[in-house]
Structures are given as C-alpha cells and as structure tokens.
Symmetry: C2
Subunit: 708 residues, 2 copies
Amino acid sequence: MNLHSLFHPRAVALIGASTEQNKLSGRPLRFFREYGYAGGIYPVNPKYQAMDGLRCFAKLSDIPVEVDLAVITLPASAVPGALAACGAKGVKAAAIISSGFAEVGGEGARLQEELARIAAEYGIAVCGPNCSGFVYFPEKVTASFSVGLNDGFPEAGPAAFVSQSGALSSYILGAARERGLGFRYWITTGNECVLSFTDYLQYLLEDPEVRLVLGYLEDARDGAAFQAAARRALALDKPLIIMKVGRSEAGAKASVSHTGSLAGADEVYQAVFSQNGVLRAESLDELFDLALLAQAPRRPRGKRVQVLSISGAAGILMADVGSELGLDFADLSDATKDELKKIMPPFAAITNPMDVTAEAVARPELLSQAAEVILKDPNVDNLVVFFGIVPGAHEKLAAAIAKVAQGTDKLVVMTWFPLPLTDIWMSLARSGVPVFPEPARGIRALGKMAQYVEAREKALASKSAAIGKEPAVASEVETIVTQAKNRGRNALTEIEAKALLKACGLRVPRGGLARDAVEAKSLAGSIGGPVALKVSSPDLLHKTEAGVIRLNLRSQEEVERAFDEILQRAKKWNPRAHLDGVLVEEMIGGDTREVIVGARQDLRFGSVVTFGLGGIFVEAIRDFAVWPAPLTMDEAREMIRKTRGYPILTAFRGRPAADLVAVAHALCVIGQLASELQNQIAELEINPLFVLPEGSGVIVGDALAVLR
Amino acid sequence: MNLHSLFHPRAVALIGASTEQNKLSGRPLRFFREYGYAGGIYPVNPKYQAMDGLRCFAKLSDIPVEVDLAVITLPASAVPGALAACGAKGVKAAAIISSGFAEVGGEGARLQEELARIAAEYGIAVCGPNCSGFVYFPEKVTASFSVGLNDGFPEAGPAAFVSQSGALSSYILGAARERGLGFRYWITTGNECVLSFTDYLQYLLEDPEVRLVLGYLEDARDGAAFQAAARRALALDKPLIIMKVGRSEAGAKASVSHTGSLAGADEVYQAVFSQNGVLRAESLDELFDLALLAQAPRRPRGKRVQVLSISGAAGILMADVGSELGLDFADLSDATKDELKKIMPPFAAITNPMDVTAEAVARPELLSQAAEVILKDPNVDNLVVFFGIVPGAHEKLAAAIAKVAQGTDKLVVMTWFPLPLTDIWMSLARSGVPVFPEPARGIRALGKMAQYVEAREKALASKSAAIGKEPAVASEVETIVTQAKNRGRNALTEIEAKALLKACGLRVPRGGLARDAVEAKSLAGSIGGPVALKVSSPDLLHKTEAGVIRLNLRSQEEVERAFDEILQRAKKWNPRAHLDGVLVEEMIGGDTREVIVGARQDLRFGSVVTFGLGGIFVEAIRDFAVWPAPLTMDEAREMIRKTRGYPILTAFRGRPAADLVAVAHALCVIGQLASELQNQIAELEINPLFVLPEGSGVIVGDALAVLR
C-alpha cells in the first residue's frame, strides 16, 4: 500500500465539509486554511456554493484538478459511495473520520466491509474509519478535527505518533508542546479497515527525519509485520515507545498443554517488546519521559551512572529507583575522586550518589565543575544531575551544564524539581540535555533507555549468533506428523513426539513399545536396570492423572504385573481410548532436576516458547518465562535466568549445577521446530525434561504434540 | 519533651543573625519580618547595634524580655555556648541551623554530644543541628532559611511535613502551592540531636487542625515510638504519607538462623508500614498525589471503582493500573445500566471503564449526568472521571462535577489530561474533588488510599481480635532460658528449644535424649514405628550440614548403628563440640508439608516474625514474608497468603489443604514469645515446621534459639 498520497497530497477534497468551524465536519477545513497548507483545498458539499471564501463543489467529480487526498466526514451510510467516487476520480488516499462502522456492529460492520472492498478495488490508502484523522506537520496536512490543533499549530519535531485511540491522542497532541515534544506525524488509526497500526509504523520508520516513534496500542493485527517493524526500528536506532493497554484482560485461551495456558496475550506482547527493544510506557507521563530521552542526541553508553545532586535525598531516591531497573551506581576511579576533592567543599563526601551540599547555593558553578571532572572518568557511562531552587542561579546553571554536555560524548540527563521556567529547561533540552520534572521519573526513563540500548546490541549481534538452522527438521519429522494426520489424529503419541524430538537431536530414554507382557519383559531385560512403563495412546494425553505410569520397576515380575495393571487402568479411565501398547523405558537416575519446555502458536505473534521449572513451580506459583520463537542461545539462557526458581538449577546446597547449556539448546530446538511447523503443530511440550549435571545433557521425560 | 515553645514562641532570638538578607544567617530574620510574625524579634550579634531597623543585641542575656525560641546560625564551635546561654535565660526551644556536627564526625560529633547534654540539662527542645529549620504557618514562625519561602509566604493548609532532608524539603515546600497542597507545619529534623522524626510526628498528630502528615524518612531512630505514632495516626484517620529511601542499601546483618538474614532493613520498614497503614510514596509525584487524595473530605469506601471517561484509552489504562493495586472494576447494577441507557448516546457501551465517547464534546453535561446516576448504584464505592480538552467546556464541567460530588457521600476523583488552567482544577479540588494530572497517577493514588482504608479497618478491628496473651510464657520458659544462660551458653539445644515451644502449646515429636545406644534403642522401642536420630549439642546448630541426622530407622540394629555413626561424625565435624547425647524421636509421617517459622530482634522495630515455605523456597528464591510481632491471627494468615508459594499449602493436585490455621497459630506463638523475651532471645526458628492436613495441626521438626 502506497502511503505517499496520504501525507504528501498536492490537493485535498473535504467531502462533507461544513461551514460550522467548531463541528467535526468544519474543523479540518478550518485547520487546512488556518495553518497554511500549500496545496489546493476543495470542499465538497451539495448544500453550498462557497465555503469560507472557497468554491464549494456539489460532487467530487466536479473538481477540475487531480485530487490526492479526500477527508470524509459524511454520515456512515454515505461513505461507501463517496469512497467509490474517490476511486473513480483517481484519489489515492482517504481519511475517513466518520464513525458508525465496525465499532457499532451490524449494518456498520457491513458498511466497513464495503469500504475495504472499494479501497482494494481502486488501491486507496484509507486511514480510519472512526478515527480522528492524521496530521503531517511539515506540509501542514491537517486531515483531522483534533482539539489538539485548536490552540495554534503545534511545533513540529522528530517524533512520529501512531495511535489506536482517538480522544486521548488529541490530548497527547495538545500536551506535547509543554512537554518539550514535537511531532512530524500524528496518526489515529481508527477501525483500521485498510491501513493498520503496523502499516503506518513501517512507513514512518523509513522517513529519515523521524527519529523516534510513539504509539498507543491495544492490539496489533499483524504480529509478524509488527515484529519486523520493531526489528527495523532497532536497526535504525529509532526507539519505539509504546503504551500498550488491556493488560488486565483475560488473554489466554483454553489450551491442552500445561504451558499453553500460561502466557496470556499481554505476556506475549511483553516478550515481543523485550526481544525487540520496544520501550513500554506504563503511563502518559512515561510516554513523554521516554520520548524526551529518545529525542536526545546521545544514548546511554552503558548502565553505569554517576549522580550529582544538590540534595542528598534526591540522590538516594534516584539510586533506589535506578538500582531496581538495573542501573549501576558504581564508584568513581581514585583519580577522579582526588580531582573532585580539590573542587568540592571539605565536608562533602565523594560518593555515588554525590551530594554537592548547600555549598552549591553559594557556588552553583560547583555542579558544572564537578560534572566536567566526572564525565572524564572511564568508570562513568552517564551522568545524572539533580537541581532544585537556587534563586538567581537557574539560567547560569543551565548554560553551564549545556556547555559541559557539549564537551562530552556521554549522555547527561538533568532532573530538576520543581521544574524552573519553561524557557530555561527547554533551552537545556534543545542543547541535548533532557530535563525531567521529577528525579524518580528521570532515572526511570534512563534505566529503560539503557535496557533499550542493551536489547538493541543483543538483537543486532544475534543475527550471526542465531542457532544454525540445519535441515534437522527433515523428512523424518515430516513423515511422523503426516502419518499421524493421515490417521485422522490431532495429537502425536508420546512415542511419536519423542521420535520427532530425537530426530531434532534431543536425547530420549532408551526403550520401546511393547504390545504384550512378554515383549515388555524382553525390552526391560535388554535395557538393564530399573525401567518405567507407560501406556501409549493418542487418547490419553495426561498419563499421570490417568494413573497409567509405573516407575522404578526392577524385576521381570514387577514389569509383568505393571503391564497388566496399567492397561486395565487405561481401559477403565477411557474405555474408548485406542491403546497402542505400553512404552518400556530406562529410568532416568542420578542427580536430575525437572523443567518444562513448551511451544505454542500465538494468535498474533506466531510461535512462542515457554520455559518453567517442573513440578509445583509452573503450576502453583506461575513461575515461567515466555519468548517468541525462533530463539538464539543467548535468548534461551536469558529465559532460564528470568524465572524466579532459576537458582535451583545452579550449584546449590552441595548439588552440582544443572546442564543449562543443554536446556537452552532444547529451548532453541523446540522453538525452531514450532516455527518451522507452524501450520502443522499447534502445541508442543516436553514435561518433564530431565536435566543432568553440567556437561551431561538433558533427556526428554515425556512429550506431547497437538496437531493443527 | 515539650514542643509548644518551638511552634508558639511569644518572642524569638536570632543568634548569629546577619544583615545579608540572602545568606543563610540573614534569611530567618527577613522571613520573620516580611511574613508578619506577631511576636518579638530580637537579633543577637555583637557586631551590630541595629539590624533592619531593629535593635540588635550583643548577647542573648541583654534581651530585656522572655524569649521562647532561639534560631541559631553561628559557626558550629560557638553553638554549645549559645545553647548554654539559652538555657541560662530560660529559652525553652531552639532551632540550630548551623552545620559541622555529627555529619562531619570527629570534633563535630563531640560538639553535638555537648549540645545534647546542654539541652537535657536545661530541658530545651532542639530542632537540628544541621537542618533547614522549621515553619509553623498559622503564626508565621519562620525559623528557617529555606528557599521555599523565597517567593512569598506559602499558602497554609491541613498538612504537616517532617523531613530528614534539608534541600529536598525546601523544593517540596516551593512546589506545594502549584500542586494544590498547603502545610500547617514544615519541619526539617537535621541530625536529631534532641528531637527525632518520631517526636515531631507524635506532636503533630495531636494538633486537631492537622489532617495528614507527610514525611521524608531515611531511618527512624526509635522504632517502637514510630509504630505507636503510626497506630495513633490510623486511630485518628490522619494518613501518614512517607517517602522512605535507602532501599538499595545492604540492610541485613549477618545472622545465625536462615530466616534471620532474609529480611533487610527495608523489608522490615515495609512490613511496619503495611501493618500500620503508612502510605509509602515511591516518588515526589506520588508524595503529592497521595497528599492531594488524603486532603479530600472523603475516603474510598471500598475497592469498587467505576470509571467514566471521555477517552476509552484512558479508561483502559486506569483499569490496568488499578487492577494491579487491587481495585475492582465491577459491573454496574442492571437498574443503573437501564438508567444510563436513557442518557447515553445509543452507540456507547455501558461498561466499566465506560467511555462517554465524542458525544461528550457536544454535550459535556453527559458526564455529570452519568456520574449522578452511577453514584447512586450500591455496587459502586468510588467514581473516577477522566476528562481532556473540550474547548469552552472546562469551567462548566468542573462546576457540574463539583455539584455532583457535593450530592454524594462517595469519593469522586478526577483525572484530567492535560490539566486545565490552575484556577479550574484547584477550585474543583477545593470543593472536595481531587484532580490528578495523569490518569495512571490518579488511579494509583486511589488504589493506595483504598489499601490504607482497608489496613485501618483491620488495625482498628484487630485490637480485640489479638491473640490472647495467656501467661503461657511462664516460669517453665524462664527456667529453660535462664539455665542455658547460667551455663554460659549463647544458644538453646534442640531439646531445650523444643521444650520451650512445647511449653507454649506447640506440638513436638515424641521422644527423648539418649546418652548411649542402649537408651536409644529403648526409647525407639517405646516410641514404636520408625524413628529419627540427631545429635544434641549446643555447638552444632546446623545439623544437616554436619551430617548428624539419621531418618526413618526401623530396627533396633539400625538405631544402634546410627547412634554410633552420628556421634563419630559429630566429633569429627567439631572435635570441641560438647555432646549432650542423641535425640531419638518419632518420624513424622503422612501427608506433611514443611514451612519455616522464625523470629528475630530488628535493630529498629524490635521483634519481627518471618514465614516461608520450607526447602528451596526460602533459600533459593527468597520467597518469604516478614511482619512485626506480636501478630494477630488475621495478620498471620495474611503473611502466609503473601508468599508466592502459598498455593502449595492449599488443596492442590489432589493433595488435601495444609492446616493453615495451625501454622498461623504457630506464627502468633513465635511472635509473642520473641516479643516477650526480647531481651533474652535474639533469634528463634522452627525449621522445619511440619504441617499436617487441615484439622490435624503442626509439629515442630527442629528448633533453634539464639540467646542475647
């Protein structure tokens, strides 16, 4: 879809325009005229001959020139006809502001389908319907009725804003100026009958003048495209700052596997955001704070922060909040400390956070002098300065800090409470030092931006480090899945699932399928040592609950008795279950720990991998991690470390560390399998995966695969 | 200590006053004169005859009238002399603003000790030293050099502010007006050489005009008094809103028991805050937000909130944030829905959060009409309204909402983004509707205030519900502890600790101490069934690590062999350990779960109780709860529920629920014991406490007591 005509129209038709300049249908015309759009403006409304000194056309086709963009404010029922007229006239873009479509259901939904059909037929890029339109600031394209345009044309800037909300977006636009933020694009997506949130995202990222993208998101229709756009944003280092709401909705649907039901929609979103360095704003304040920092000419170079504060208390507050976000308030080097001692008053402690004390009231230049020394220290990645009220010193301090910041390639951030006069802090912001009106907010934004930088570095590096996609998922895998499907089954048996995983290089227990007790005993004999018996049936997926497992059988008699018992039990549990026989396997002994590794297909984002500790951890305390597939070894390791129960897998209370490399590898394998077989496998789970001590690998205890 | 003279002086001496009105030593005089303090003002400085038209005295004793308050701004070395002169003249209160005392150590610390001695001798209420002084607004007592007083005298209000910070407190004072907050008291505590944070707190709470108290706290010197003050605040329904920093410091000291080292200083603070309904502010914004809500004439009546929003997005954002804080966004009653349908546009959905849609732009009265209907619904405890930009409608809307709020006894909160003109939102706030400049901030403040109300109700109710303090801790307990102490020991043996707990009514395993193998076998025989053997020694506290435990011994031979083995092992582990013998006990069988129950004496707050699930939970994933002792059964139950592993104790995967009533009772017993024996027992721990199924009680598996 070509969005060029949307944002760069040479002529605009306002279909349904009204003379009432404060009404929804009158405002776009007023804004186009008032704010100096340079192209042709053509109101279309059969009721008028002229409008605000412009000729008004009865029909679109009456307009004697080519029109690129139509802004439609007609009642819903009249919109399809108007869009078709656009198509006939060769109009390539439309903003349909009118409501009464899919959001009201019924006839509205039908009308919206018609719009989509017409747009497809003529290739029209449609924004909306049921939206507040959009603005492209450089060319004053004000295809919107937003109240955010009411008090003068907002200052333009390097940010783009895309939003699935109408009203709130207007208030964000209205508030942007006083928050020090300027937009290049401001877009409300409405019902997304043609162009989606992601479509705009992709377009905006390629505009070289756009340096950051803000979004308000409820749901991304096209997960894969969203992920691709987020990765593109990372590659371009254009931070994507998104307020994603709807967290409290019950997102997870019913699922067969244990892990399948764990991660709700929001948890998958969070994983996609984390993977791709999307900065998630938890509030409007944070949306602006992150934007302010993203606008700065420099990024954090690392997590080490020195705080320089005119208040000890504000310094401690920032260290508290920053530490929780992973910032590191490390010590300065001895050389720097010595240097600082020469400048600072004798009673000031050279620490981190560092309090310049009340001496800074008498000598505000103390702050900039100390800042200069600190920024030369190789132990410091970023400097955060806190300032308050020092009568008469604000301008001077702002100028001094601006000068210091210009002399370094490290990020300097200022928190200033209460915020001084707008001119002072904005001039500082313009000189490259973002200023935050509250210390906790400033340090939080810095912490999240440092996480962004880290995620970006990882993502860019992981291109090459991605697990080799050997054609492991070869004919053998295909065969297993196809055969099961051909037999009309919707799940693989444990034997089949294990064969699948074995083909992918995972170790499974030695053993085989016994059709009768004699075969079972013979298999047990050839295995040697204690064995486990389990019924094999495509209809009994939860074997523990069904009681069709027997463990640690040591003698031929035990094997024979167990064989009979569990077959009887299986028939009783589900008389209609098809029983393939009984699986006889070696017992996994030694110092093993149990984990669960799963994958499922998310409605939005395709394959996602879930990891959790076995037993009570996943089920009782919902301790698990989720990540989009396929994943790299680094990502897999990170997933494992993210679970609360992680320490149990490390060397602990005299036990050796578990083989985490092998677990990470299994996560990668499962992720790769799930994404390559997206259309065939709905859910895949290894539960338990036995983890042996470091260097000894993992063994698939049981496996489950649900087919699509 | 009598603080009356501090805040209500009839005459003030300014010792060390300067004519330089912008210096620290010149400002208090300027403020006293400029802002209209009605009492006598007497500068004391031998260098001047007069100062700003006032007679200046060479010595304090030259002042011909009685002086109540001295404000001292002399160099540190001259302060003790000045304070002694105050004592001699009968001055009852002093604000020592000068620095150079304990905060610089050495000679400064000595000077501060001298101040404390002089203050005690003459009974002088001293604020400081090393502080920014204080202000009592009604009488314009400006014993401070704060820059917060620089731009006119701040508006007074019902809040009191006590702070362990100087500079930041001035900025808070400076920012208060624009945030809609007014103070009655503003106090910086400095080095607290005489008056502590808590001393002020206690005084302020008793002022009937004070309706809320704000604090900045680094450490409360007197934990018990702080707790008492917090409880008093609850009783008076004067919310205590504290920004407590220093969370990231390593607070926990080395400790013998497992649980002892778990809860750091900040975790104990958090527990004390939770117990006493102290509202903890995580940032300056939140400090103001909570104060704004605490100032409102009404409290939340419960957790049920209806959101009425001009933006769907802002509504969802608030539901997300509010849900996480435990607010309940329940449905309206059918009757209310029917009523609303009559008012609302046909396409608006009657939901929660409820979006009044763009219709509110044309008809802003829609909001107040809907608000009126909603507030009559018995399913609604609180109403939150979100508004944005509607040109021309702000005044009208504010007036309408104010009117609606006056017609209800439920809390109405407004979030307004971007905030309209100051006059508009402040007039609304003055009429009892707090207005927040960001939706997430408003709902967060409401969520925390609802938690305050709940904590308050619990605390007020629990007075009577407190566990009966029977004199269980009787002579038997005293005897056990005293005997061990008399033997020069610093810990109880397992046998003694168990005897102690048995005396308090907890069940311990059957068994006894065997001095030789014959006794062991005989004990095992009389117990019947499998037994456990453990070495009993005051010098071997961690028996598992020492390998001196044998479990599940069934035969006489096993008992004999185990007896010999573990004694040998004990001698090898610690050749100098005194060995009392071997403890022979019944094995605890059946469906038991293991928990850990501990108590220790916190440096600030006295006895605290710790609870965690046994095994890996406490140690590997630090999953535990801490609470000040003594505790009520309700508090004990709450502690158990707060751990992440709690579901494991409930009916789960076919296992019966554990006896949580018995666990809660054990927590109460331990808490009571620890607080009654504060001076004798340093740490007490039951690890494990075996928990039997519901109704079957708990059994002390092992116990440890460290004496003071």
